[in-house]
């Protein structure tokens, strides 16, 4: 870890409550994310971790609470506006575009930065053509970074699981996000794949200074790579702090890490 410096709070979630009918998914949750840090959200199944990410980038709209992102306050986010403001994410169940090649999937990640109208694109001349080439350069940088040159033209449906996860990360990175939300980036991977993924996450954080919010179940990974951890259980926050603080928090131990009998 080199010159990475954790900065000010860029995302502040205040008293977020989210209900689906009578089901309380999140109750009065507050925490913040600082610039350039790796922030982990952990908790047992159904604790509301994915809902939390969905609130951050606007897929779900909380009934109560405020979200302050880069000093701008709002009740709720809209997904495509969140994308424009630099929030990218990956999904727990891979959400790639199955009918498209790896290259096209990653190119799609840059869509908010392409401005040629569809008529220009239809004629494929001038700005549209220039943009395709410029963005291809950027996409190739991401492809090199994640070491997926060999599968560039492969339809994503044909790739093994681990590589699909990596392509999804590539698609998110192609947007050059300032904040990256990762929903279980290492679920279902073997040890080598997890190591690769950890390396990529840390490299992204280190080289691009991207703020990372991740959900992960592998405690070893979480404790190793994150700067601060927030712990959820049944939609409530039960712990928040550095990995060491969280590890020694009795409430967290009983709820999540297990109690010695």
């Amino acid at each position: 870890m080199s010159g990475r410096k954790i900065g000010d709070v860029i995302l502040d979630l205040q008293n977020i409550s989210l209900r689906f009918g009578g089901v309380k998914a999140l109750t009065d949750i507050s925490f913040n994310v600082r610039e350039h840090e790796v922030r982990a959200i952990i908790g047992p199944n159904g604790a509301g971790k994915s809902s939390m990410l969905n609130v951050i980038n606007g897929v779900y709209h909380p009934q109560e609470g405020r979200i302050v992102f880069h000093g701008e306050e709002r009740r709720k986010m809209e997904p495509h506006k969140a994308a424009k403001q630099g929030i990218a994410r990956t999904f727990q169940n891979i959400a790639l575009f199955k009918g498209m090649s790896v290259l096209d999937n990653i190119m799609t990640g840059r869509i908010t930065k392409m401005h040629a109208s569809f008529l220009e694109q239809a004629i494929h001349f001038g700005r549209a053509r220039r943009e395709e080439l410029e963005h291809r350069h950027k996409v190739e940088e991401v492809i090199d970074f994640l070491e997926i040159q060999h599968i560039r033209k492969t339809p994503v449906g044909r790739l093994p699981y681990g590589l699909q996860k990596r392509v999804e990360l590539a698609r998110a990175l192609a947007a050059e996000p300032t904040m990256l939300l990762l929903d279980e980036p290492m679920a279902g991977m073997n040890v080598e794949e997890k190591q690769d993924m950890c390396r990529f996450i840390l490299d992204v954080n280190d080289q691009f200074g991207t703020t990372i919010v991740l959900i992960e179940h592998d405690m070893g990974v979480v404790m190793d790579i994150s700067d601060r951890v927030v712990v959820l259980d049944y939609g409530k926050k039960i712990g928040d702090g550095t990995p060491d603080e969280v590890r020694n928090n009795p409430e967290v131990i009983s709820a999540y890490l297990g109690v010695a009998h």
Partner: protein, 355 residues
């Protein structure tokens, strides 16, 4: 041996992103275009041009339009024929009511009118998907045909809404002979197909496919779902509208709203299912298949099976074969003839050495 990319090194992204990256494909397309423009009008008889090739091109265009909507953007539509009707009647009215209207502008106007109607009937797609959307577009199909029949203004108050298309004239040249009509239709279809190909390989095409494959992820990436879906409806209906105008002006001449019935919508849907969902070439293959199959079947029945089959069977043979083929394609190759062609090409790259 012939179809091989070995030795064709791409040294720039521009070379890698051109419309046909493989040299043999480029040569192939040029040969096909040369044949279509120069050899076909000379070699084929008037009957072939008028009754087979012109409708083939027009149906290809309509199938292309539907393929943009259904194949690329994933929005199932059963209203293609209605959008064709809008194009035909709008072009007719532009010619009728605007003095000195150039025919090409009338076609574009017909396409734009269809696009506007397409956007209106595409609005339900923002809320509903799949079969339910198909039923909503079915409403477009029935409503538009009903409206064009009931409101006399559209057909200049002719009985039962029949319109007779005006003559086509560009810069003083009148397109009367089948050869001339064929070349006009061919030129329009080639230009529109090229534009479609460019769209689907650019960011608008990627946005359509993203919405088709995983709409939640598409939205999170920053794609505006509403805008993308309605654009697909507009572009698709524009293509269908121009196809409808050509259907009236270059093919049939005299059309009534009933001519653009649900049957025609289904026919166009079958074209993209058999030709290949989500492929430009698939629209052409599917149209060729559906236009040529009945003729081929007729020839077979009359030449070889005339005495063997009872007339009741032979008259229904076409329907039987159509139904069978559609089931076959849905089960065996949902991506249609275009996919088979692609598999063939991949095999050819290795042939004759399989490893």
């Amino acid at each position: 041996m012939l179809y091989r990319e070995a030795g064709q090194f791409k040294t720039s992204y521009a070379a890698d992103q051109q419309i046909f990256p493989i040299r043999q494909d480029r040569i192939g397309i040029l040969i096909i275009l040369a044949i279509a423009f120069f050899a076909v009008p000379m070699l084929f008889s008037e009957y072939w041009l008028k009754a087979i090739l012109i409708p083939f091109l027009i149906f290809s265009l309509a199938a292309l339009g539907l393929n943009i909507l259904t194949g690329y953007a994933g929005q199932l539509s059963l209203g293609s024929a209605a959008f064709m009707a809008v194009g035909a009647f709008a072009s007719y009215n532009f010619m009728l009511r605007v003095d000195g209207m150039p025919i090409l502008l009338a076609f574009i106007g017909g396409g734009l009118a269809a696009a506007a109607v397409g956007i209106a009937f595409g609005l339900p797609s923002l809320r509903i998907k799949g079969f339910y959307l198909a039923v909503a577009t079915l409403a477009a199909q029935f409503f538009i045909v009903w409206l064009l029949t009931k409101v006399g203004w559209f057909s200049n108050y002719s009985s039962s809404g029949v319109i007779t298309a005006q003559d086509m004239e560009i810069l003083g040249y009148r397109f009367v002979t089948p050869e001339a009509k064929y070349l006009l239709v061919l030129a329009i279809v080639v230009v529109l197909a090229l534009l479609a190909k460019n769209m689907v390989r650019s960011s608008v095409g990627r946005a359509w496919m993203a919405v088709r494959d995983m709409d939640v992820a598409a939205e999170v990436i920053g794609i505006r779902i509403m805008h993308t879906k309605l654009l697909a409806f507009a572009v698709s209906s524009f293509y269908c509208g121009v196809a409808g105008a050509l259907y009236a002006f270059a093919y049939i001449g005299t059309v009534e709203p009933e001519g653009f019935s649900l049957d025609l919508s289904f026919k166009i849907l079958f074209m993209i299912i058999i030709g290949g969902v989500g492929s430009i070439s698939g629209a052409f293959l599917g149209a060729a298949f559906i236009v040529l199959l009945p003729i081929a079947l007729d020839v077979i029945v009359q030449q070889w099976l005339a005495g063997v089959l009872p007339p009741s069977v032979s008259s229904n043979l076409q329907l039987i074969v159509f139904g069978g083929l559609i089931i076959f394609f849905l089960i065996v190759e949902p991506h249609g003839l275009a996919r088979l062609w692609q598999i063939g090409k991949e095999k050819l790259r290795l042939w004759p050495f399989p490893h």
